[in-house]
Structures are given as C-alpha cells and as structure tokens.
Symmetry: C2
Subunit: 114 residues, 2 copies
Amino acid sequence: MEKINVVAALAALAQDNRLDVFRLLVQAGPEGMPAGAVAEALDLAPNTLTFHFDRLRTAGLVSVRRDGRSMIYAAQFEKMNELLRFLTENCCGGAPCAPAAICKPSRKRAKVPA
Amino acid sequence: MEKINVVAALAALAQDNRLDVFRLLVQAGPEGMPAGAVAEALDLAPNTLTFHFDRLRTAGLVSVRRDGRSMIYAAQFEKMNELLRFLTENCCGGAPCAPAAICKPSRKRAKVPA
DNA sequence: TCCATATTTCAACGAATATGGAAATGATAG
DNA sequence: CTATCATTTCCATATTCGTTGAAATATGGA
C-alpha cells in the first residue's frame, strides 16, 4: 500500500462520525447496509452522510452499489487489512510482527449485536 | 481505548510529515531520537516539526525527554498497539481476530536500517 | 403521468490545519 | 557573563474540513 493511500485512509477514519460509520459498516459485514439505515442509526443528516461516505469511498475503505432507491454501502475489509499491515510493517524493525490477514469476516452477518 | 483518543491518534497519523515522523521514530525504537535528527532526516523546519511533534504527543503516540540541549522523542508502542486493537476490535463481529500485543520492539535498536 | 422516497449536488459559512518568519527560551561551553 | 546551539513560541496566512439549507436527481408505485 502506497503511503499516500495510507494517509488518505487514516484521514478518512480520523473523524468522529466517519469512524462511527465505518465501524457500523464493519459490523454490518460484507453485505453492507443502505445509506438511510446508517443515517438513522447514527442520527446524521443525509447530505452530511453523503459527504462522509465520499471520503471513505475515495480512501477505498467503502464500496457502494445501488439497490432500488437505496445505496448500499459496505466496508472494504481487504483495504482495512492493507492499512493495518502498513502500520505494523516497520513496527519491529522489519521483523513481521502481525499476521498477513488480520480480519476475515464471515460472509453472512445479518444483525449487529447490541 | 476511548473513541475520542482513537480519533486523535488517527488524526495524528493522517498527515504526510507526521506519518513519516512517527514511522521514523518507530524504526528508531524505544530509545527514540533527538528532534534535530528527525528534522534533518525528513528535511523539516524546526518550528514545523515542533508543531507535528505536539500533535503526536497530544495523541499519546510519542513521548519526550530532555537530554542536554536536545529533546529526545520516542514512539509509544503501547499506544500504537491500543490503536490497532481498537481498529480490529469489531472487525469480525466481536470475535478476536488479532493478537493482543501486535508489536513488541526489542529494547535495543541503534541504527535505522536503510 | 404524478407523487413519494432515497440520496446526492451545490453554495456558503465558521472552525481547524499546515506552514513560514521572527523572536524567545533553555542548556552548555568558554 | 556572553555566545552559541537546540528547540519552542508567537503571529500571520492560505488551505482544507464539517455542517447546514435548498435544490436537484434517480427509482419505484399508483
């Protein structure tokens, strides 16, 4: 992962609402969830949410697909893992100190646990 | 780790120069290195560097101590691990998918490898 | 077609950020 | 004490960020 992309990913996560959004999507699993559901869960104005989604998407941390009138946003787990790999890369002076794949979500995850 | 601290840590790392500074300090190991050496290595103005050190320090990612006229900055590895733990915390829906201690630097690390 | 729903786009604003120059502070040597 | 070195503080500036309100776009249903 290029440093410029790392900075973009970190910047994308370095904001209260966006961190919440991303974590919610992570918990939602690879299926993702509609923008409206995120807006309701986090009590965010739809235009504000679009702004934040854009940043996460530009950083590659999130993907979108349309389903009817809804836009379904989903976390990009592989990107997240790349970021974590980069952060731990030079951690112990070149010695690999973290596993290659840090997070492997199961394909099905319907409900977010309370 | 509290979410507010996570945001602060991410924001601290989400900037080109600061990411360089932190990685340099990570490679320098727990001993740290003087501000001047960092300034020279990364070609940063001393006042600019102070600004960035402050952010890293406020985020808890870096510590300082005085040694003569030099200020020695050192990466805070435990804070880094806390951050990584937080990021992977809800990664797999509550299932722990990353080790507890991700990075364990050896105490001695004199030279940064090229 | 007309309407409601879901989301995005646009323009604007105050707040925070990154950097630069000049001056100030703290520590050591002579 | 004075001079010098290492770093910080202060002030100014241009840029970017997060949020809001209003209007626009896309989809599906009656």
